[in-house]
């Protein structure tokens, strides 16, 4: 009756960011922007680099939760461009950092990305965040 949920690995994504833009306290919370200047991603079905120009808009809601709103462009090792976005929740007190990525691409080899939903688990490492992203089957 209720349907189980299964996943399979899609990619591990590493992001490099430059100095943050600390917007400060706005009506929505404390906003910090993390400009994305590079990075890499790798999985069985796709791999490549993260292009500069994206970013992550992170809001400290004030209740212990940071919400994430990311947009980046991925470039596969064979030249495909993929627009990736995610929203996410980070709760350091509970060691919870999860995202809901989405993909858009016109590259024929990667159009399967347009048809899937995904979940990400993430961790903050000294050299930047690492996102492990799984396809929802």
């Amino acid at each position: 009756m209720s349907l189980p949920i299964n996943t399979r690995p899609l990619m591990v994504l590493r992001l490099a960011t430059s100095a943050t833009q600390d917007i400060g306290s706005t009506p929505q919370g404390k906003l910090t922007i993390f400009p994305v200047v590079g990075g890499s991603f790798e999985g069985d079905r796709l791999r490549g680099k993260v292009l500069a120009g994206g970013g992550d808009w992170v809001i400290d809601r004030g209740d212990g939760i940071f919400t994430l709103d990311l947009r980046v462009t991925l470039e596969t090792d064979d030249g495909g461009l993929i627009h990736m976005t995610f929203t996410g929740v980070r709760d350091d007190a509970h060691n919870y950092f999860r995202t809901a990525p989405r993909f858009e691409t016109a590259a024929p080899k990667y159009t399967f990305l347009n048809r899937l939903l995904a979940v990400g688990t993430a961790e903050i490492r000294p050299d930047g965040p690492v996102h492990t992203i799984d396809e929802i089957l």
Partner: protein
């Protein structure tokens, strides 16, 4: 609660759903990512989680099985 989702499958399956027939949900892809916002203290845990759902389009309406992403 709000959600973004995708539903797709073979044309004949999607057509059968469109005709209001009961279709085996394993024959098509129907998944959503729900988000919740509440001020009710008993349910504030919903403000702090990411969720994913498997869904099924039945003649009488959709049924979503919603899983918290742990």
């Amino acid at each position: 609660m709000s959600s973004f989702g995708l539903r797709h499958g073979p044309p004949e399956v999607i057509a059968a759903i469109g005709r209001g027939e009961t279709v085996d949900p394993s024959t098509y892809y129907f998944r959503t990512m729900p988000r919740f916002e509440t001020a009710h203290p008993a349910y504030s845990f919903l403000n702090r989680l990411i969720a994913a759902a498997t869904a099924e389009r039945r003649p009488e309406g959709p049924i979503y099985t919603i899983h918290e992403v742990l």
